[in-house]
């Protein structure tokens, strides 16, 4: 199998007055062509930053990618020129952002905004761009596109705007789509529709997807593989069903216990994970989940656990073997 994207030991830091924040602290993963991967974790665990780092969209200063490799289609994206990365953005790798309300420019029509990538990467003229934009609007399920193409973002609902964002992202048929919590800001009923649209269109175009979310229900339904992040690192990864059924890291176990499960009978109350996420400026020397872990051992406070194989394609970073 040839991997489309290989992230190796990626590190991204933010330099703040309080100190250096290691937002992404050495993560590695592979993504095959057409594959869908879920990147899961709580707010501030570095999942969005890791995604922005792939396209070098980290604002500098204060942020900086301090190490690692992002190999996409055989090229290390961290080592190419600004022009070359611009050619990748929107063309080979596209992004969908969390907030459809603020991701669109309020003073430009949506037609112009969807056409922007086409103009940049395909060099289409006005007429061709307009036809293509109409096709895209139809593709993402916006009714009456001829009438809506000249509307402004404020004339659309949140769900419709997110569809516009999807049209924008898929306009150049990218090989990889990074969807950064695409459904967080919309109604629950719309969430499922949007995810279906993304899933349907990307599988038709053969686009691989990195789906960033904190919604475990979304992950279970829509991804092949998932990676769980905690404090800037991946602490567990593997096939989605496997991780869901047999979580091997105490954090993943806690995460799954803290959300309602529809696939299992109701048993008592939900169990929250105690404590707060760690301060990324002063991480504990050992396992960063140590202070909150219900399985902690003496050894955990000294030794930082590395990812190790715990099953078929299943990795977990815990010294204790929860499976046995």
């Amino acid at each position: 199998m040839n991997s489309l994207l290989r992230v190796e030991d990626l590190k991204t830091c933010f330099y703040t007055d309080a100190g250096m924040v290691k937002a992404v602290d050495g993560i590695s993963y592979d993504l095959q062509e057409g594959e869908t991967m879920g990147l899961v974790g709580e707010s501030g665990c570095g999942k969005s930053v890791s995604a922005l780092s792939i396209l070098r969209l980290i604002p500098y200063p204060p942020g900086k990618i301090t190490g690692g490799k992002v190999v996409f289609e055989g090229k290390d994206l961290l080592n190419i020129s600004e022009e070359e990365i611009r050619d990748v953005r929107g063309n080979r790798i596209a992004m969908i952002f969390q907030e459809p309300m603020t991701s669109l420019n309020p003073v430009l029509t949506i037609g112009l905004q969807i056409g922007e990538a086409l103009e940049i990467h395909r060099g289409l003229n006005k007429k061709e761009t307009r036809d293509e934009v109409l096709r895209l609007l139809r593709m993402v399920g916006i009714p009456d596109p001829e009438r809506r193409i000249d509307d402004y973002p404020h004339q659309f609902s949140g769900g419709m705007r997110q569809r516009v964002m999807i049209a924008m992202a898929l306009s150049c048929s990218p090989k990889l789509l990074i969807a950064d919590e695409p459904t967080t800001a919309v109604d629950v009923t719309i969430q499922a529709q949007l995810l279906e649209t993304i899933k349907d269109l990307t599988s038709r175009l053969g686009t691989a997807v990195i789906l960033i979310t904190h919604n475990l229900g979304v992950v279970a339904r829509h991804v092949n593989r998932m990676a769980v992040m905690y404090a800037g690192r991946i602490i567990e990864s593997g096939p989605a069903t496997e991780v869901y059924e047999h979580p091997r890291h105490p954090y993943t176990v806690g995460l799954l216990a803290s959300v309602p499960r529809l696939d299992k009978p109701r048993v008592g109350r939900l169990v929250p994970i105690d404590g707060q996420p760690p301060d990324l400026i002063r991480l504990p020397p050992g396992c960063s989940f140590f202070p909150r872990c219900s399985h902690r051992m003496q050894q955990c406070s000294m030794e930082r656990p590395e990812l190790r194989i715990v099953g078929a394609g299943h990795l977990a970073a815990c010294l204790k073997d929860l499976g046995s």
């Binding site: 969209l57 953005r89 969390q98 991701s103 420019n105 990538a117 940049i120 307009r130 964002m165």
Partner: protein
Amino acid sequence: MEEIIDKAEKPKWSQTREVFNRLSKRITAMIGLVIVLIFLVSAIFAPFLAPYDPLEHSLGHMLAKPSWDYPLGRDELGRCILSRVIYGARISLLIGTMVISIGVLLGAPLGIISAYYGGKVDFIIQRFVDTMLAFPGILLALTLIAMLGVGLANVMIAVGISTIPIYARLARSSVLAIKSRQFVEASRSIGASNFKIILRHLLPNSLSPIIVQSTLHMATAILWAAGLGFLGLGINPPTPEWGAMLNGGRLYIRVAYHVATFPGLMIFITVLGFNLLGDGLRDALDPRLKT
């Protein structure tokens, strides 16, 4: 092709109409608009509106009082004041537009670049702007005229340059508020270059404060131009200019009030008109009122 342009224009017009609707609800703003329109019309159509040649003098009718034939009377050389006032609007409009153009065209890009790139670029540009702001505007303009020499073009350049820092600051602050918005990041994520982001996304979004400021500035520019004309630093004498007319009439104010009064009133009314319109526009373009 034409059809496409037609369709693309439609919503823009509806937005303009929306702003106009809000503007029309304010009486003061409408008064301002009417004054400004009258000013523009008389400046543009001066040769058709002026009853006499503004340069034609008649020493036999020096300082003649207003009459049916000469509604605003005649000046110290017997020239028709009404015609001179109408022609004077041309100079004021010319000075106003040029001053604003210099200020906006040089100041706004400076401010946008400063805010967008930040860091050292921002620091250097802002220290330059600070230095310019440290001078009182009129003093800076006078200094520049002292360096460049007297004349209409130099007045426009001098006053124009002294407004650059204001537009630079204004554009900078609105871009600072916009550049961290997600649509800018979204545009970067589809591969747009810095130039494209500035032109497509930052400029249109930072335009409304600049429009308001330039309307208000038009008033200031006219006032400054008149002030410099009054001091004899503006356009050469025979050409009608409100400030210079005011100065000419000053000597005869005891015997012929009208020579200085009417140009003075024109300056007053025009400045008032632009100020009223500017205030109205500020309210009408308030982003908080947008749906």
